[in-house]
């Protein structure tokens, strides 16, 4: 029973460092990822996948990795907000992923560049002929473009990225400082800021979802869209944390610290957020389906025709039903390997969800062969670059994989589910 051995090991224990077999992967993963990403973009742009398709695929890949970081940021904030004890042993892993946000801001530049090049390559609202081509009344369009225009979009995007980065850096640096000093006041400061930070985070994330994803269909709107993206992100973050921790443990780090109990809790949260995602996405669908107002149904209409109809149905069965049933049993959630399996599985489904949000706006079908190659290259490249970046940053700065002097660490070590 862990209850009897709740004393943390000394902070300089080697199992608190990133294992060499993992940190060694940083450069290969990062460099090959960057290469694949660049090759993917070039193939897309010059081999006929089309500018809209290529940039949409880029946005999909970018949103995917960003959503994992954002979910991790939320995870860290909510643990401080609840003064949670159980999660201390896995919180550092979330912090390692959340600190990637400032770096991801650089990967957002291609999207800004596309917007500035004009012509509505990625966001249709950039097209000066949009209103005329789609029969939108000019008065309405004038109002729309007061919000959806290059300059204002850029300003907002920069605000979002800076705000997220500021919150992430604040929490990361304080948590790391505590590794050295063990000051309890640091925890108190982080807790005190977590309330306003959560409010800021949810507002920013909602508006970013509106601007970066919802505005792909300029005339469509859903007030629930921000929550929808949030639900997917937090789900993905819990999965990423579980999978990352499992990977670390399989290479010898934090083996005694993270127990079945922590996997059980992560599994419960995954289970809960699978359903939360379903609840939100179905609510969004049902309200629009029931009211049947043309200006709202447009988005779902695109997604229930042709190949997208298959993807939509797939999401119901494989993003909800399968993991829902799979994670329902306590016995599954108490087996780390199974939790890790479902985590990776849901991470794949989360990508399909993002793909389904972005890509139908890029064209009618799933894309040509070149388009699919582009998309796969960019996604694999982006994920690999992201992972490489996270590992590189952690190993370069000697970041421990455990918050070793957190005042609640003993509580987390002794944590047991009733």
């Amino acid at each position: 029973m862990a209850a009897h051995a709740a004393h943390p090991k000394p902070a300089d224990d080697p199992t608190f460092q990133l294992p060499a077999s993992i940190s060694g992967l940083a450069s290969p993963l990062g460099l090959s990822g960057l290469m694949l990403l660049v090759v993917g973009v070039l193939i897309g742009l010059f081999a006929g996948a089309g500018g809209r398709f290529t940039m949409s695929a880029y946005l999909t890949a970018f949103t995917y990795v960003l959503s994992i970081s954002l979910g991790s940021l939320f995870f860290v904030l909510i643990q401080h907000l609840c003064r949670a004890g159980w999660s201390v042993v896995v919180r550092r892993v979330a912090e390692m992923m959340m600190i990637a946000i400032p770096a991801l801001a650089i990967l957002f530049l291609p999207i800004l560049l596309t917007v500035w090049m004009g012509g509505g390559t990625l966001f249709a609202w950039g097209d000066p002929n949009f209103a005329a081509d789609h029969g939108v009344p000019l008065v309405t369009w004038a109002e729309k473009t007061r919000y959806l225009n290059g300059t204002w979009f850029t300003v907002r995007s920069i605000i979002y990225l800076i705000a997220w980065s500021a919150i992430a850096i604040f929490y990361f640096s304080l948590s790391r400082r505590q590794d050295e000093t063990g000051e309890v006041t640091l925890t108190e400061r982080m807790q005190a800021r977590s309330g306003p930070a959560v409010i800021a985070f949810s507002l920013i994330t909602t508006f970013a979802a509106f601007d970066w994803l919802m505005s792909l269909a300029p005339m469509w709107f859903s007030t629930m869209f921000g929550v929808y993206i949030f639900a997917g992100s937090v789900l993905a973050a819990h999965c990423a944390i579980a999978a990352f921790v499992f990977w670390l443990q399989s290479r010898g780090a934090i083996r005694e610290e993270v127990t079945i109990e922590h996997y059980h809790d992560l599994g419960k949260l995954m289970f809960g957020f699978v359903f939360f995602w379903t609840y939100i996405s179905f609510s969004q669908y049902m309200l629009i389906w029931y009211a049947n107002i043309p200006e709202e149904t447009e988005w779902f209409y695109t997604r229930q025709r042709g190949p997208w109809a298959t993807v939509s149905i797939m999401l119901v069965f494989f993003h909800w039903m399968l993991p829902f049933l799979g994670l329902m049993s306590r016995h599954v959630r108490r087996r780390p390997a199974l939790v890790c399996f479902w985590a990776v599985y849901i991470l794949v489904m989360h990508f399909i969800d993002i793909y389904w949000i972005v890509m139908p706006e890029a064209g009618s079908g799933l894309g040509s062969l070149v388009g699919i190659i582009t998309s796969v290259l960019m996604t694999v490249g982006m994920v690999s670059l992201y992972l490489g970046g996270v590992l590189w940053f952690a190993s370069a700065n000697q970041v421990r994989v455990l918050a070793v002097r957190d005042p609640r660490l003993p509580e987390s070590l002794a944590f047991e589910n009733l």
Binding site: M1, A3, F282, Y285, M286, Y290, N292, M328, E416, L418
Partner: protein, 487 residues
């Protein structure tokens, strides 16, 4: 309880000072093979169920079964109600439309699963119960305070009073004692009866007051809990407003303007009446109608000079040619549909017909829709049977398209007008569809286009020939049988 049971032994308990001694004792008791055991602690203790060897609870399965029952009830109930028992088109959705059924099914799942969890938990714990024999031991009160207790029930197959007591003492238990049947008096103390009686009496007061209020009138003004909900500051139709000089709360359009989407320029199109013809036959009636439609004050008409000054005063009060009820309708209705007919128009008309008209007139137009059937079933006295659309008096020759349009717009007898629900274009589309419906119920072969007619004739000929062949076959077989019989 009878005296024979008064000394019945329920079990043996022991007191422990700390969680650790209790857990150690629990493990020993479990390992010794006791199963009918229980531990009592002031706070939840991790791992105690494992230490006592308590099997994992079946509660999740109960909850799951109840949840599945809930989702099944939700889906079956709604499929039966909307798809079988009371088919009713709602917002043009299919009768069995899964997305609409989700919220109710979801809520029922949650409701029954939580009922299952809550009542299942009570049932598995044998709750509620009014007393536990352990309560007769004063020391046991400290189980909610600072002591830990371990209890072995006499129902355990290994139970033997002195052995268990010795065992518990050896494990470090203090104050090991037998729990015997509680011999406190079973009669309920008198003060409790008094309190219950008083409470029951007091509980009768509100219903009695309410009952009295139901049957009496009161002179005092009604008490309004939410005053501004009972008396909305917003003005209703026809109410007086102090905000405007003319006192009207319903504001007329600014002179010379038309509200968006309300511009009815082509008056024939919006009334179904051929106004040129009407003006020729009866100019004063045309003028009056136009004024009424244009919402102009019904004063002496300006056009009266040009038309017929002598008639002008009569216009306001009575129609120049009074039409007695029951006389022939002489309105020059538009004979045809102003919409260019196409399958799109007919489909539109059908969609609107099935949403707005079919509930009474029926999908086939024979006047026996759901509302009519329901009205007849409950013998609604004020109900007027909707007209069947398949009668000569409603065919285009006797009931021109314009008149049908006007009926849809303004209503007739008990039928309300659908001006507010349907745009003029949709009403004309419904007119077109009604004509198609009438044609469909009375069609002859000659109504078909030539190629279809030939196709149908060919089919008919084929069928007739097949029938003839079959008859021939039968005849031959019968002959053959009779021949063999004759031989």
């Amino acid at each position: 309880m009878s005296d024979t049971q008064a000394n019945q032994v329920h079990g043996t308990y022991a007191e422990f000072d700390s969680v650790d001694t209790l857990l150690a004792a629990c493990r020993r008791v479990r390992d010794a093979g006791y199963t009918q055991t229980d531990a009592y602690t002031p706070f939840p203790v991790h791992g105690i169920d494992k230490a006592l060897g308590i099997k994992p609870t079946h509660l999740p399965w109960i909850s799951l079964a109840c949840g599945l029952t809930g989702v099944t009830i939700g889906l079956v109930m709604q499929c039966w109600m909307n798809g079988i028992d009371y088919k009713y088109i709602i917002s043009g959705k299919p009768f069995i439309s899964l997305p609409a059924f989700m919220p109710v099914s979801f809520e029922l799942t949650i409701l029954l699963a939580s009922f299952g969890a809550f009542f299942g938990m009570l049932a598995l714990n044998g709750l509620p119960r009014f007393n536990n024999p352990l309560f007769s031991k004063p020391r046991f009160d400290r189980a909610t305070d600072d002591k830990f207790f371990l209890y072995i029930d006499a129902k355990d197959s290994r139970y033997d009073a002195s052995g268990v007591a010795q065992f518990l003492t050896d494990l470090g238990g203090q104050h090991v004692d037998q729990v015997v049947e509680d011999d406190t008096r079973l009669t309920i103390p008198k003060p409790i009866w008094v309190i219950v009686g008083v409470l029951m009496f007091v509980a009768c007061v509100p219903p009695l007051v309410l009952a009295r209020m139901r049957v009496t009138t009161s002179g005092s003004p009604r008490f309004h809990v939410f005053f501004d909900m009972d008396f909305s500051p917003a003005k209703g139709a026809q109410e007086i407003s102090t905000l405007f000089a003319d006192g009207r709360s319903m504001r007329p359009d600014v002179p010379g303007t038309v509200a968006s989407g309300q511009f009815e320029e082509d008056i024939d199109y919006y009334t179904g009446i051929d106004f040129e013809e009407l003006a020729r036959r009866d100019s004063s009636r045309a003028t009056r109608l136009v004024r009424a439609l244009r919402d102009e004050p019904d004063q002496t008409p300006e056009v009266s000079e040009a038309d017929a000054p002598s008639e002008a005063p009569a216009i306001v009060d009575a129609p120049s040619t009074p039409v007695a009820p029951g006389t022939v309708d002489d309105t020059p209705w538009l004979p045809g549909n102003p919409l260019p007919l196409s399958s799109a128009v007919l489909n539109r008309g059908r969609e609107k017909f099935e949403i707005y008209c079919a509930v009474c007139h029926g999908n086939d137009g024979r006047g026996n829709g759901l509302v009519n059937r329901r009205a007849q079933r409950i013998l609604a006295t004020a109900w007027v049977q909707p007209s069947s659309l398949h009668q000569e008096t409603l065919y285009a020759e006797q009931y021109p398209d314009g008149k049908l349009f006007s009926t849809i717009t303004n209503g007739i007898r008990k039928m309300a007008g659908y001006r507010a629900q349907l745009t003029a274009q949709d009403r004309w589309a419904v007119v077109a569809y009604v004509r198609a419906l009438q044609a469909s119920q009375n069609a002859t072969l000659e109504d078909l286009p030539a190629d279809k007619r030939n196709e149908l004739r060919k089919e008919q000929a084929e069928v007739l020939q097949q029938l003839a062949e079959q008859a021939e076959e039968e005849r031959r077989r019968a002959e053959a049988t009779s021949a063999t019989v004759a031989q």
